[in-house]
């Protein structure tokens, strides 16, 4: 099976997992089937109208009821888009955090990653893209089964960790409480790993570890068995509370990890908007206009009153103006469209480009505690001698 996550696809094909972009906050995963239908509030989109079109195509239908059109875009999934398509109630590692962690660890085709726990699997997708192999662990059996199925559907599961040009299938998921039982994967375990003949235990040799666990300090002592021995290995613990950070640091120190540093990532998103440019001069002219029209009205009314009555003092008539204002339009000069519905950007007005942050920001996700360990600081003396002796 092809993986839509590891291969660039040009055209929408039957069997593809695709994302239907309805709006920024409404992205749905769909599997393209010949007779499939994607139902929305405004109407139904036939998959048959998508098949064969290039990815990124806008699909239009006439909306129910009236004669307007509704649109969606069909996108090929990426780990980042997939993350956006997940329901927000799921605990998700979002892109500002995941991208920082991957960058800090220089993730790429030589990276061997341990992730615990799998959770929603959103970070797993990003790790799978930029690693040699991802070993992900999930202790909750139901979630393990769900993630396994999802990763299989997405073409990620496999032992293939060769640096080849083939589609990567480089994810192993294992059902495990890593705090209690560590990270080693054996024949007898509930795992997606396919053991070769005579292979009893997986050689994990991770050089990057990501722990998204409530108590990472229970898992840290188990890492020595599975991390790469002859290189510098990084760990990142993802914890919402500061007290967890403290216990994590304690455990990292106790287990010989160094260069400990905790950071927070703060991501914000802005939308481009426009604000009407309302000048003082226009505002002044408008007020003058109102004033002069009001005086006109007063004068006219005064004349009317004088013609018909004689018993009210001059002063009262003037004072009364507010309650007996004439019914003519209050203003003629309306430079800001007051009282009208003006669409943002209306070309009859001038606008200043402004940015507006989301109305609700993710002010905190988790603290990220980084540390490093090199288990063996030996060098191969013989090899080095040989290299030095060689002319070069």
């Amino acid at each position: 099976m092809n993986s839509v996550f590891s291969e660039y696809k040009d055209f929408i094909q039957e069997g593809d997992l695709a994302l239907a972009w309805i709006s920024r906050n409404n992205i749905k995963a769909i599997t393209i089937e010949k007779d499939g239908v994607f139902n929305t509030r405004y109407g139904s989109f036939l998959h048959s109208g998508m098949i064969g079109k290039p990815y990124g195509s806008q699909i239009a239908i006439r909306t129910k009821g009236n004669n307007k059109f509704a649109f969606i875009h069909i996108l090929q999934p990426t780990p980042e888009l997939w993350t956006l398509s997940l329901p927000h109630r799921t605990q998700i590692v979002y892109t500002p955090d995941s991208s920082y962690i991957m960058q800090r660890f220089n993730c790429g085709p030589n990276t061997r990653v341990i992730e615990a726990g799998t959770g929603s699997g959103s970070f797993s997708h990003a790790f799978a893209r930029s690693s040699n192999h991802l070993f992900t662990f999930e202790f909750h059996e139901v979630r393990y089964e769900q993630a396994l199925e999802e990763f299989q559907d997405h073409g990620l599961i496999g032992n293939d960790d060769a640096k080849s040009n083939e589609a990567f299938k480089n994810v192993t998921i294992t059902h495990r409480d890593v705090c209690e039982n560590g990270f080693t994967i054996k024949q007898t375990d509930k795992t997606s790993y396919k053991f070769a003949e005579g292979e009893d235990e997986v050689k994990i040799n991770a050089n990057v570890v990501f722990l998204d666990l409530p108590a990472p300090w229970n898992a840290i002592p188990n890492l020595d068995q599975v991390i790469s021995k002859n290189e510098k290995v990084g760990v990142c613990c993802f914890s919402p509370c500061i007290e967890q950070v403290d216990k994590t640091i304690e455990s990292l120190i106790g287990n010989g990890w160094t260069e400990i540093e905790m950071v927070e990532i703060q991501g914000k998103q802005y939308e481009a908007r426009r604000q009407m440019e309302r000048t003082l001069d226009d505002a002044l002219i408008r007020l003058k206009d109102i004033k002069s029209r009001k005086l006109e009205g007063v004068e006219r009314r005064k004349r009317l009153l004088e013609e018909t009555m004689n018993d009210i003092s001059h002063e009262e008539k003037t004072e009364d103006k507010d309650s007996k204002r004439p019914s003519v339009a209050k203003t003629r000069y309306n430079p800001f469209g007051k009282g009208q519905r003006i669409k943002e950007g209306d070309s009859n007005y001038s606008w200043l480009q402004v940015t507006k942050v989301e109305s609700e920001i993710k002010s905190h996700t988790s603290y990220l505690t980084f540390a490093y360990k090199t288990i063996s600081k030996e060098r191969d003396v013989e090899l080095v001698s040989k290299l030095i002796e060689n002319s070069g």
């Binding site: 040009d10 920024r24 090929q76 220089n106 085709p109 290189e231 540093e261 480009q353 940015t355 090199t374």
Partner: protein, 478 residues
């Protein structure tokens, strides 16, 4: 091929690495066989002595009497450092040193605070008593003369030993407050410690190198978190063909190649980066620090000027300039003629490449760090980006992305442009004294990300009226 060191894991010859010094400065060096590297006041060491150890190892330089203190012959790269009186730094021996527990102890420690764990005799008394009887002491009470210290430094003593001696000879050290004791130790450690860490020269390390030097402008004020997010949002993989504008002297390309190939010059993966540049010649200087072979770079990085890209020759035009010879004809060519033929052949092929990358290839992402006016640049570059693929622009200023965002909003070929800001906030990570660093570099830049899409042909007039959002508003799935 015999067994070799893996330059991605171990310190290897002919590799550029980045050294971290006790002063928290960085130094980029190339590890030449039999060479030595001077760290100025922090000593000097033989390259051969560090080869083979894992990257990331910290070494201490020490001088013992038995070792012949060879004068440092000095690499060209260190020339500037050694103009002062003592321009021959003695080359010491190295031994592995255990790293500091906390990153903060080297790097991110705030003024006046020190790693408690390092100095177990100092206890943290949380009381206002602390500096009630604070004494203002200068260097006067310091009994060791500078000459004596220099002497110690040139002897067989490690930095820590020197510091211990200094403390012993410092009369009022124990009268100082905890905080000022810590400050004092910190200062002395930075002054006398002779150690260095040999780090892999990752893109992030290279970026940090320029930022630490105060050279923000060179890297367009980019932060590690911004570039990391750029690479993820752009969905950079090992097998894509990416269109790129890089005004950071090659740093962005450095990052792209690292993400795509893991820094492995022997990688068999076939991704490509096509770099569009606005001057006659591309500036990818920083790639010189990478460990990629010329062949690798030729295979994976193509450079085209904006003029060639936007106004490429036709295949016919290219073909008209050059007629390939047959094998026999080539054999007959001699000397200059033969060389000239191959040069022209190479030029011809590169011109064909220009035609191909300017007109045929559909790109898997467009990534841009450019100070050119983005509203004029991005829509035209995006023409050759495949549908559903991301477009990510980095800019030092949000305002330039705001302009771009409005331009892209008004164009149905772009889906939902958004401006992103991401900021990393490091902590002083010392148990009992946890807090965010008191000061940080400002800046870090902003990203704009959107996806290239293909508008439906039919009902354009309807959509065009709604320039804020190309999708139906309020539309929801049932």
């Amino acid at each position: 091929m015999t067994s070799q060191l893996d330059p991605l894991k171990q310190i290897a010859f002919n590799q550029f690495v980045i050294l971290k010094l006790p002063s928290n400065n960085w130094k980029i060096v190339e590890l030449r066989k039999n060479g030595s590297i001077s760290l100025g006041k922090f000593g000097a060491f033989q390259v051969n002595d560090v080869i083979g150890y894992p990257l990331g190892t910290t070494f201490e330089i020490y001088y013992d009497n038995t070792s012949d203190i060879t004068e440092n012959e000095d690499d060209s790269q260190n020339k500037n450092k050694n103009k002062n009186k003592n321009n021959k730094i003695p080359v010491g021996k190295v031994r592995i040193m255990e790293e500091k527990l906390s990153e903060s102890s080297n790097n991110n420690l705030d003024e006046g605070e020190e790693l408690k764990n390092d100095i177990p005799e100092l206890t943290n008394i949380n009381s206002s008593e602390n500096n009630k009887h604070l004494i203002n002491i200068g260097n006067k009470v310091q009994k060791l003369t500078m000459a004596e210290i220099e002497n110690l430094k040139n002897k067989s003593v490690s930095g820590d030993e020197i510091i211990a001696k200094i403390i012993d000879s410092h009369e009022s050290f124990h009268k100082k407050t905890i905080q000022s004791q810590e400050k004092y130790l910190k200062r002395k450690q930075q002054k006398f410690a002779k150690y260095f860490t040999v780090n892999y020269l990752s893109g992030s390390a290279l970026l940090e190198y320029f930022l630490a030097k105060g050279d923000q402008q060179r890297v367009m004020d980019m932060s590690q978190e911004s570039v990391g997010m750029l690479l993820n949002l752009a969905n950079i993989r090992s097998n894509g063909t990416y269109l790129c504008v890089d005004e950071t002297g090659g740093l962005l390309v450095y990052f792209l190649l690292e993400r795509m190939f893991g820094g492995d010059t022997d990688s068999k993966l076939d991704g490509k980066v096509v770099v569009i540049h606005e001057n006659e010649h591309p500036n990818l200087d920083l790639l010189k620090y990478s460990n990629y072979s010329e062949e690798f770079i030729n295979d994976h990085v193509k450079t085209i000027s904006i003029l060639d890209y936007f106004e490429p020759p036709t295949v016919a035009e290219v073909n008209s300039t050059f007629t390939p010879f047959s094998k026999e004809e080539i054999k007959e060519l001699k000397g200059n003629k033969r060389n000239a033929y191959f040069r022209r052949s190479k030029l011809y092929k590169s011109q064909l490449d220009v035609v191909k990358f300017a007109t045929e290839v559909k790109y898997d992402a467009l990534v841009v760090t450019s100070t050119l006016s983005l509203p004029s640049l991005i829509p035209r570059l995006a023409e050759n980006v495949h549908g559903s693929r991301p477009i990510v622009c980095f800019s030092q200023f949000k305002e330039t992305l705001l302009e771009l965002s409005h331009t892209l909003y008004d164009d149905l070929k772009f889906l939902a442009p958004s401006i992103y800001e991401t900021r990393c906030r490091p902590y002083q990570t010392i148990r009992g004294k946890l807090h965010p660093l008191m000061t940080m570099r400002g800046g870090g830049g902003y990203l704009l990300c959107c996806h290239r899409v293909i508008p439906a042909p039919e009902p354009e007039q309807l959509v065009a009226t709604d320039n804020k959002d190309p999708d139906v508003k309020k539309q929801k799935t049932e």
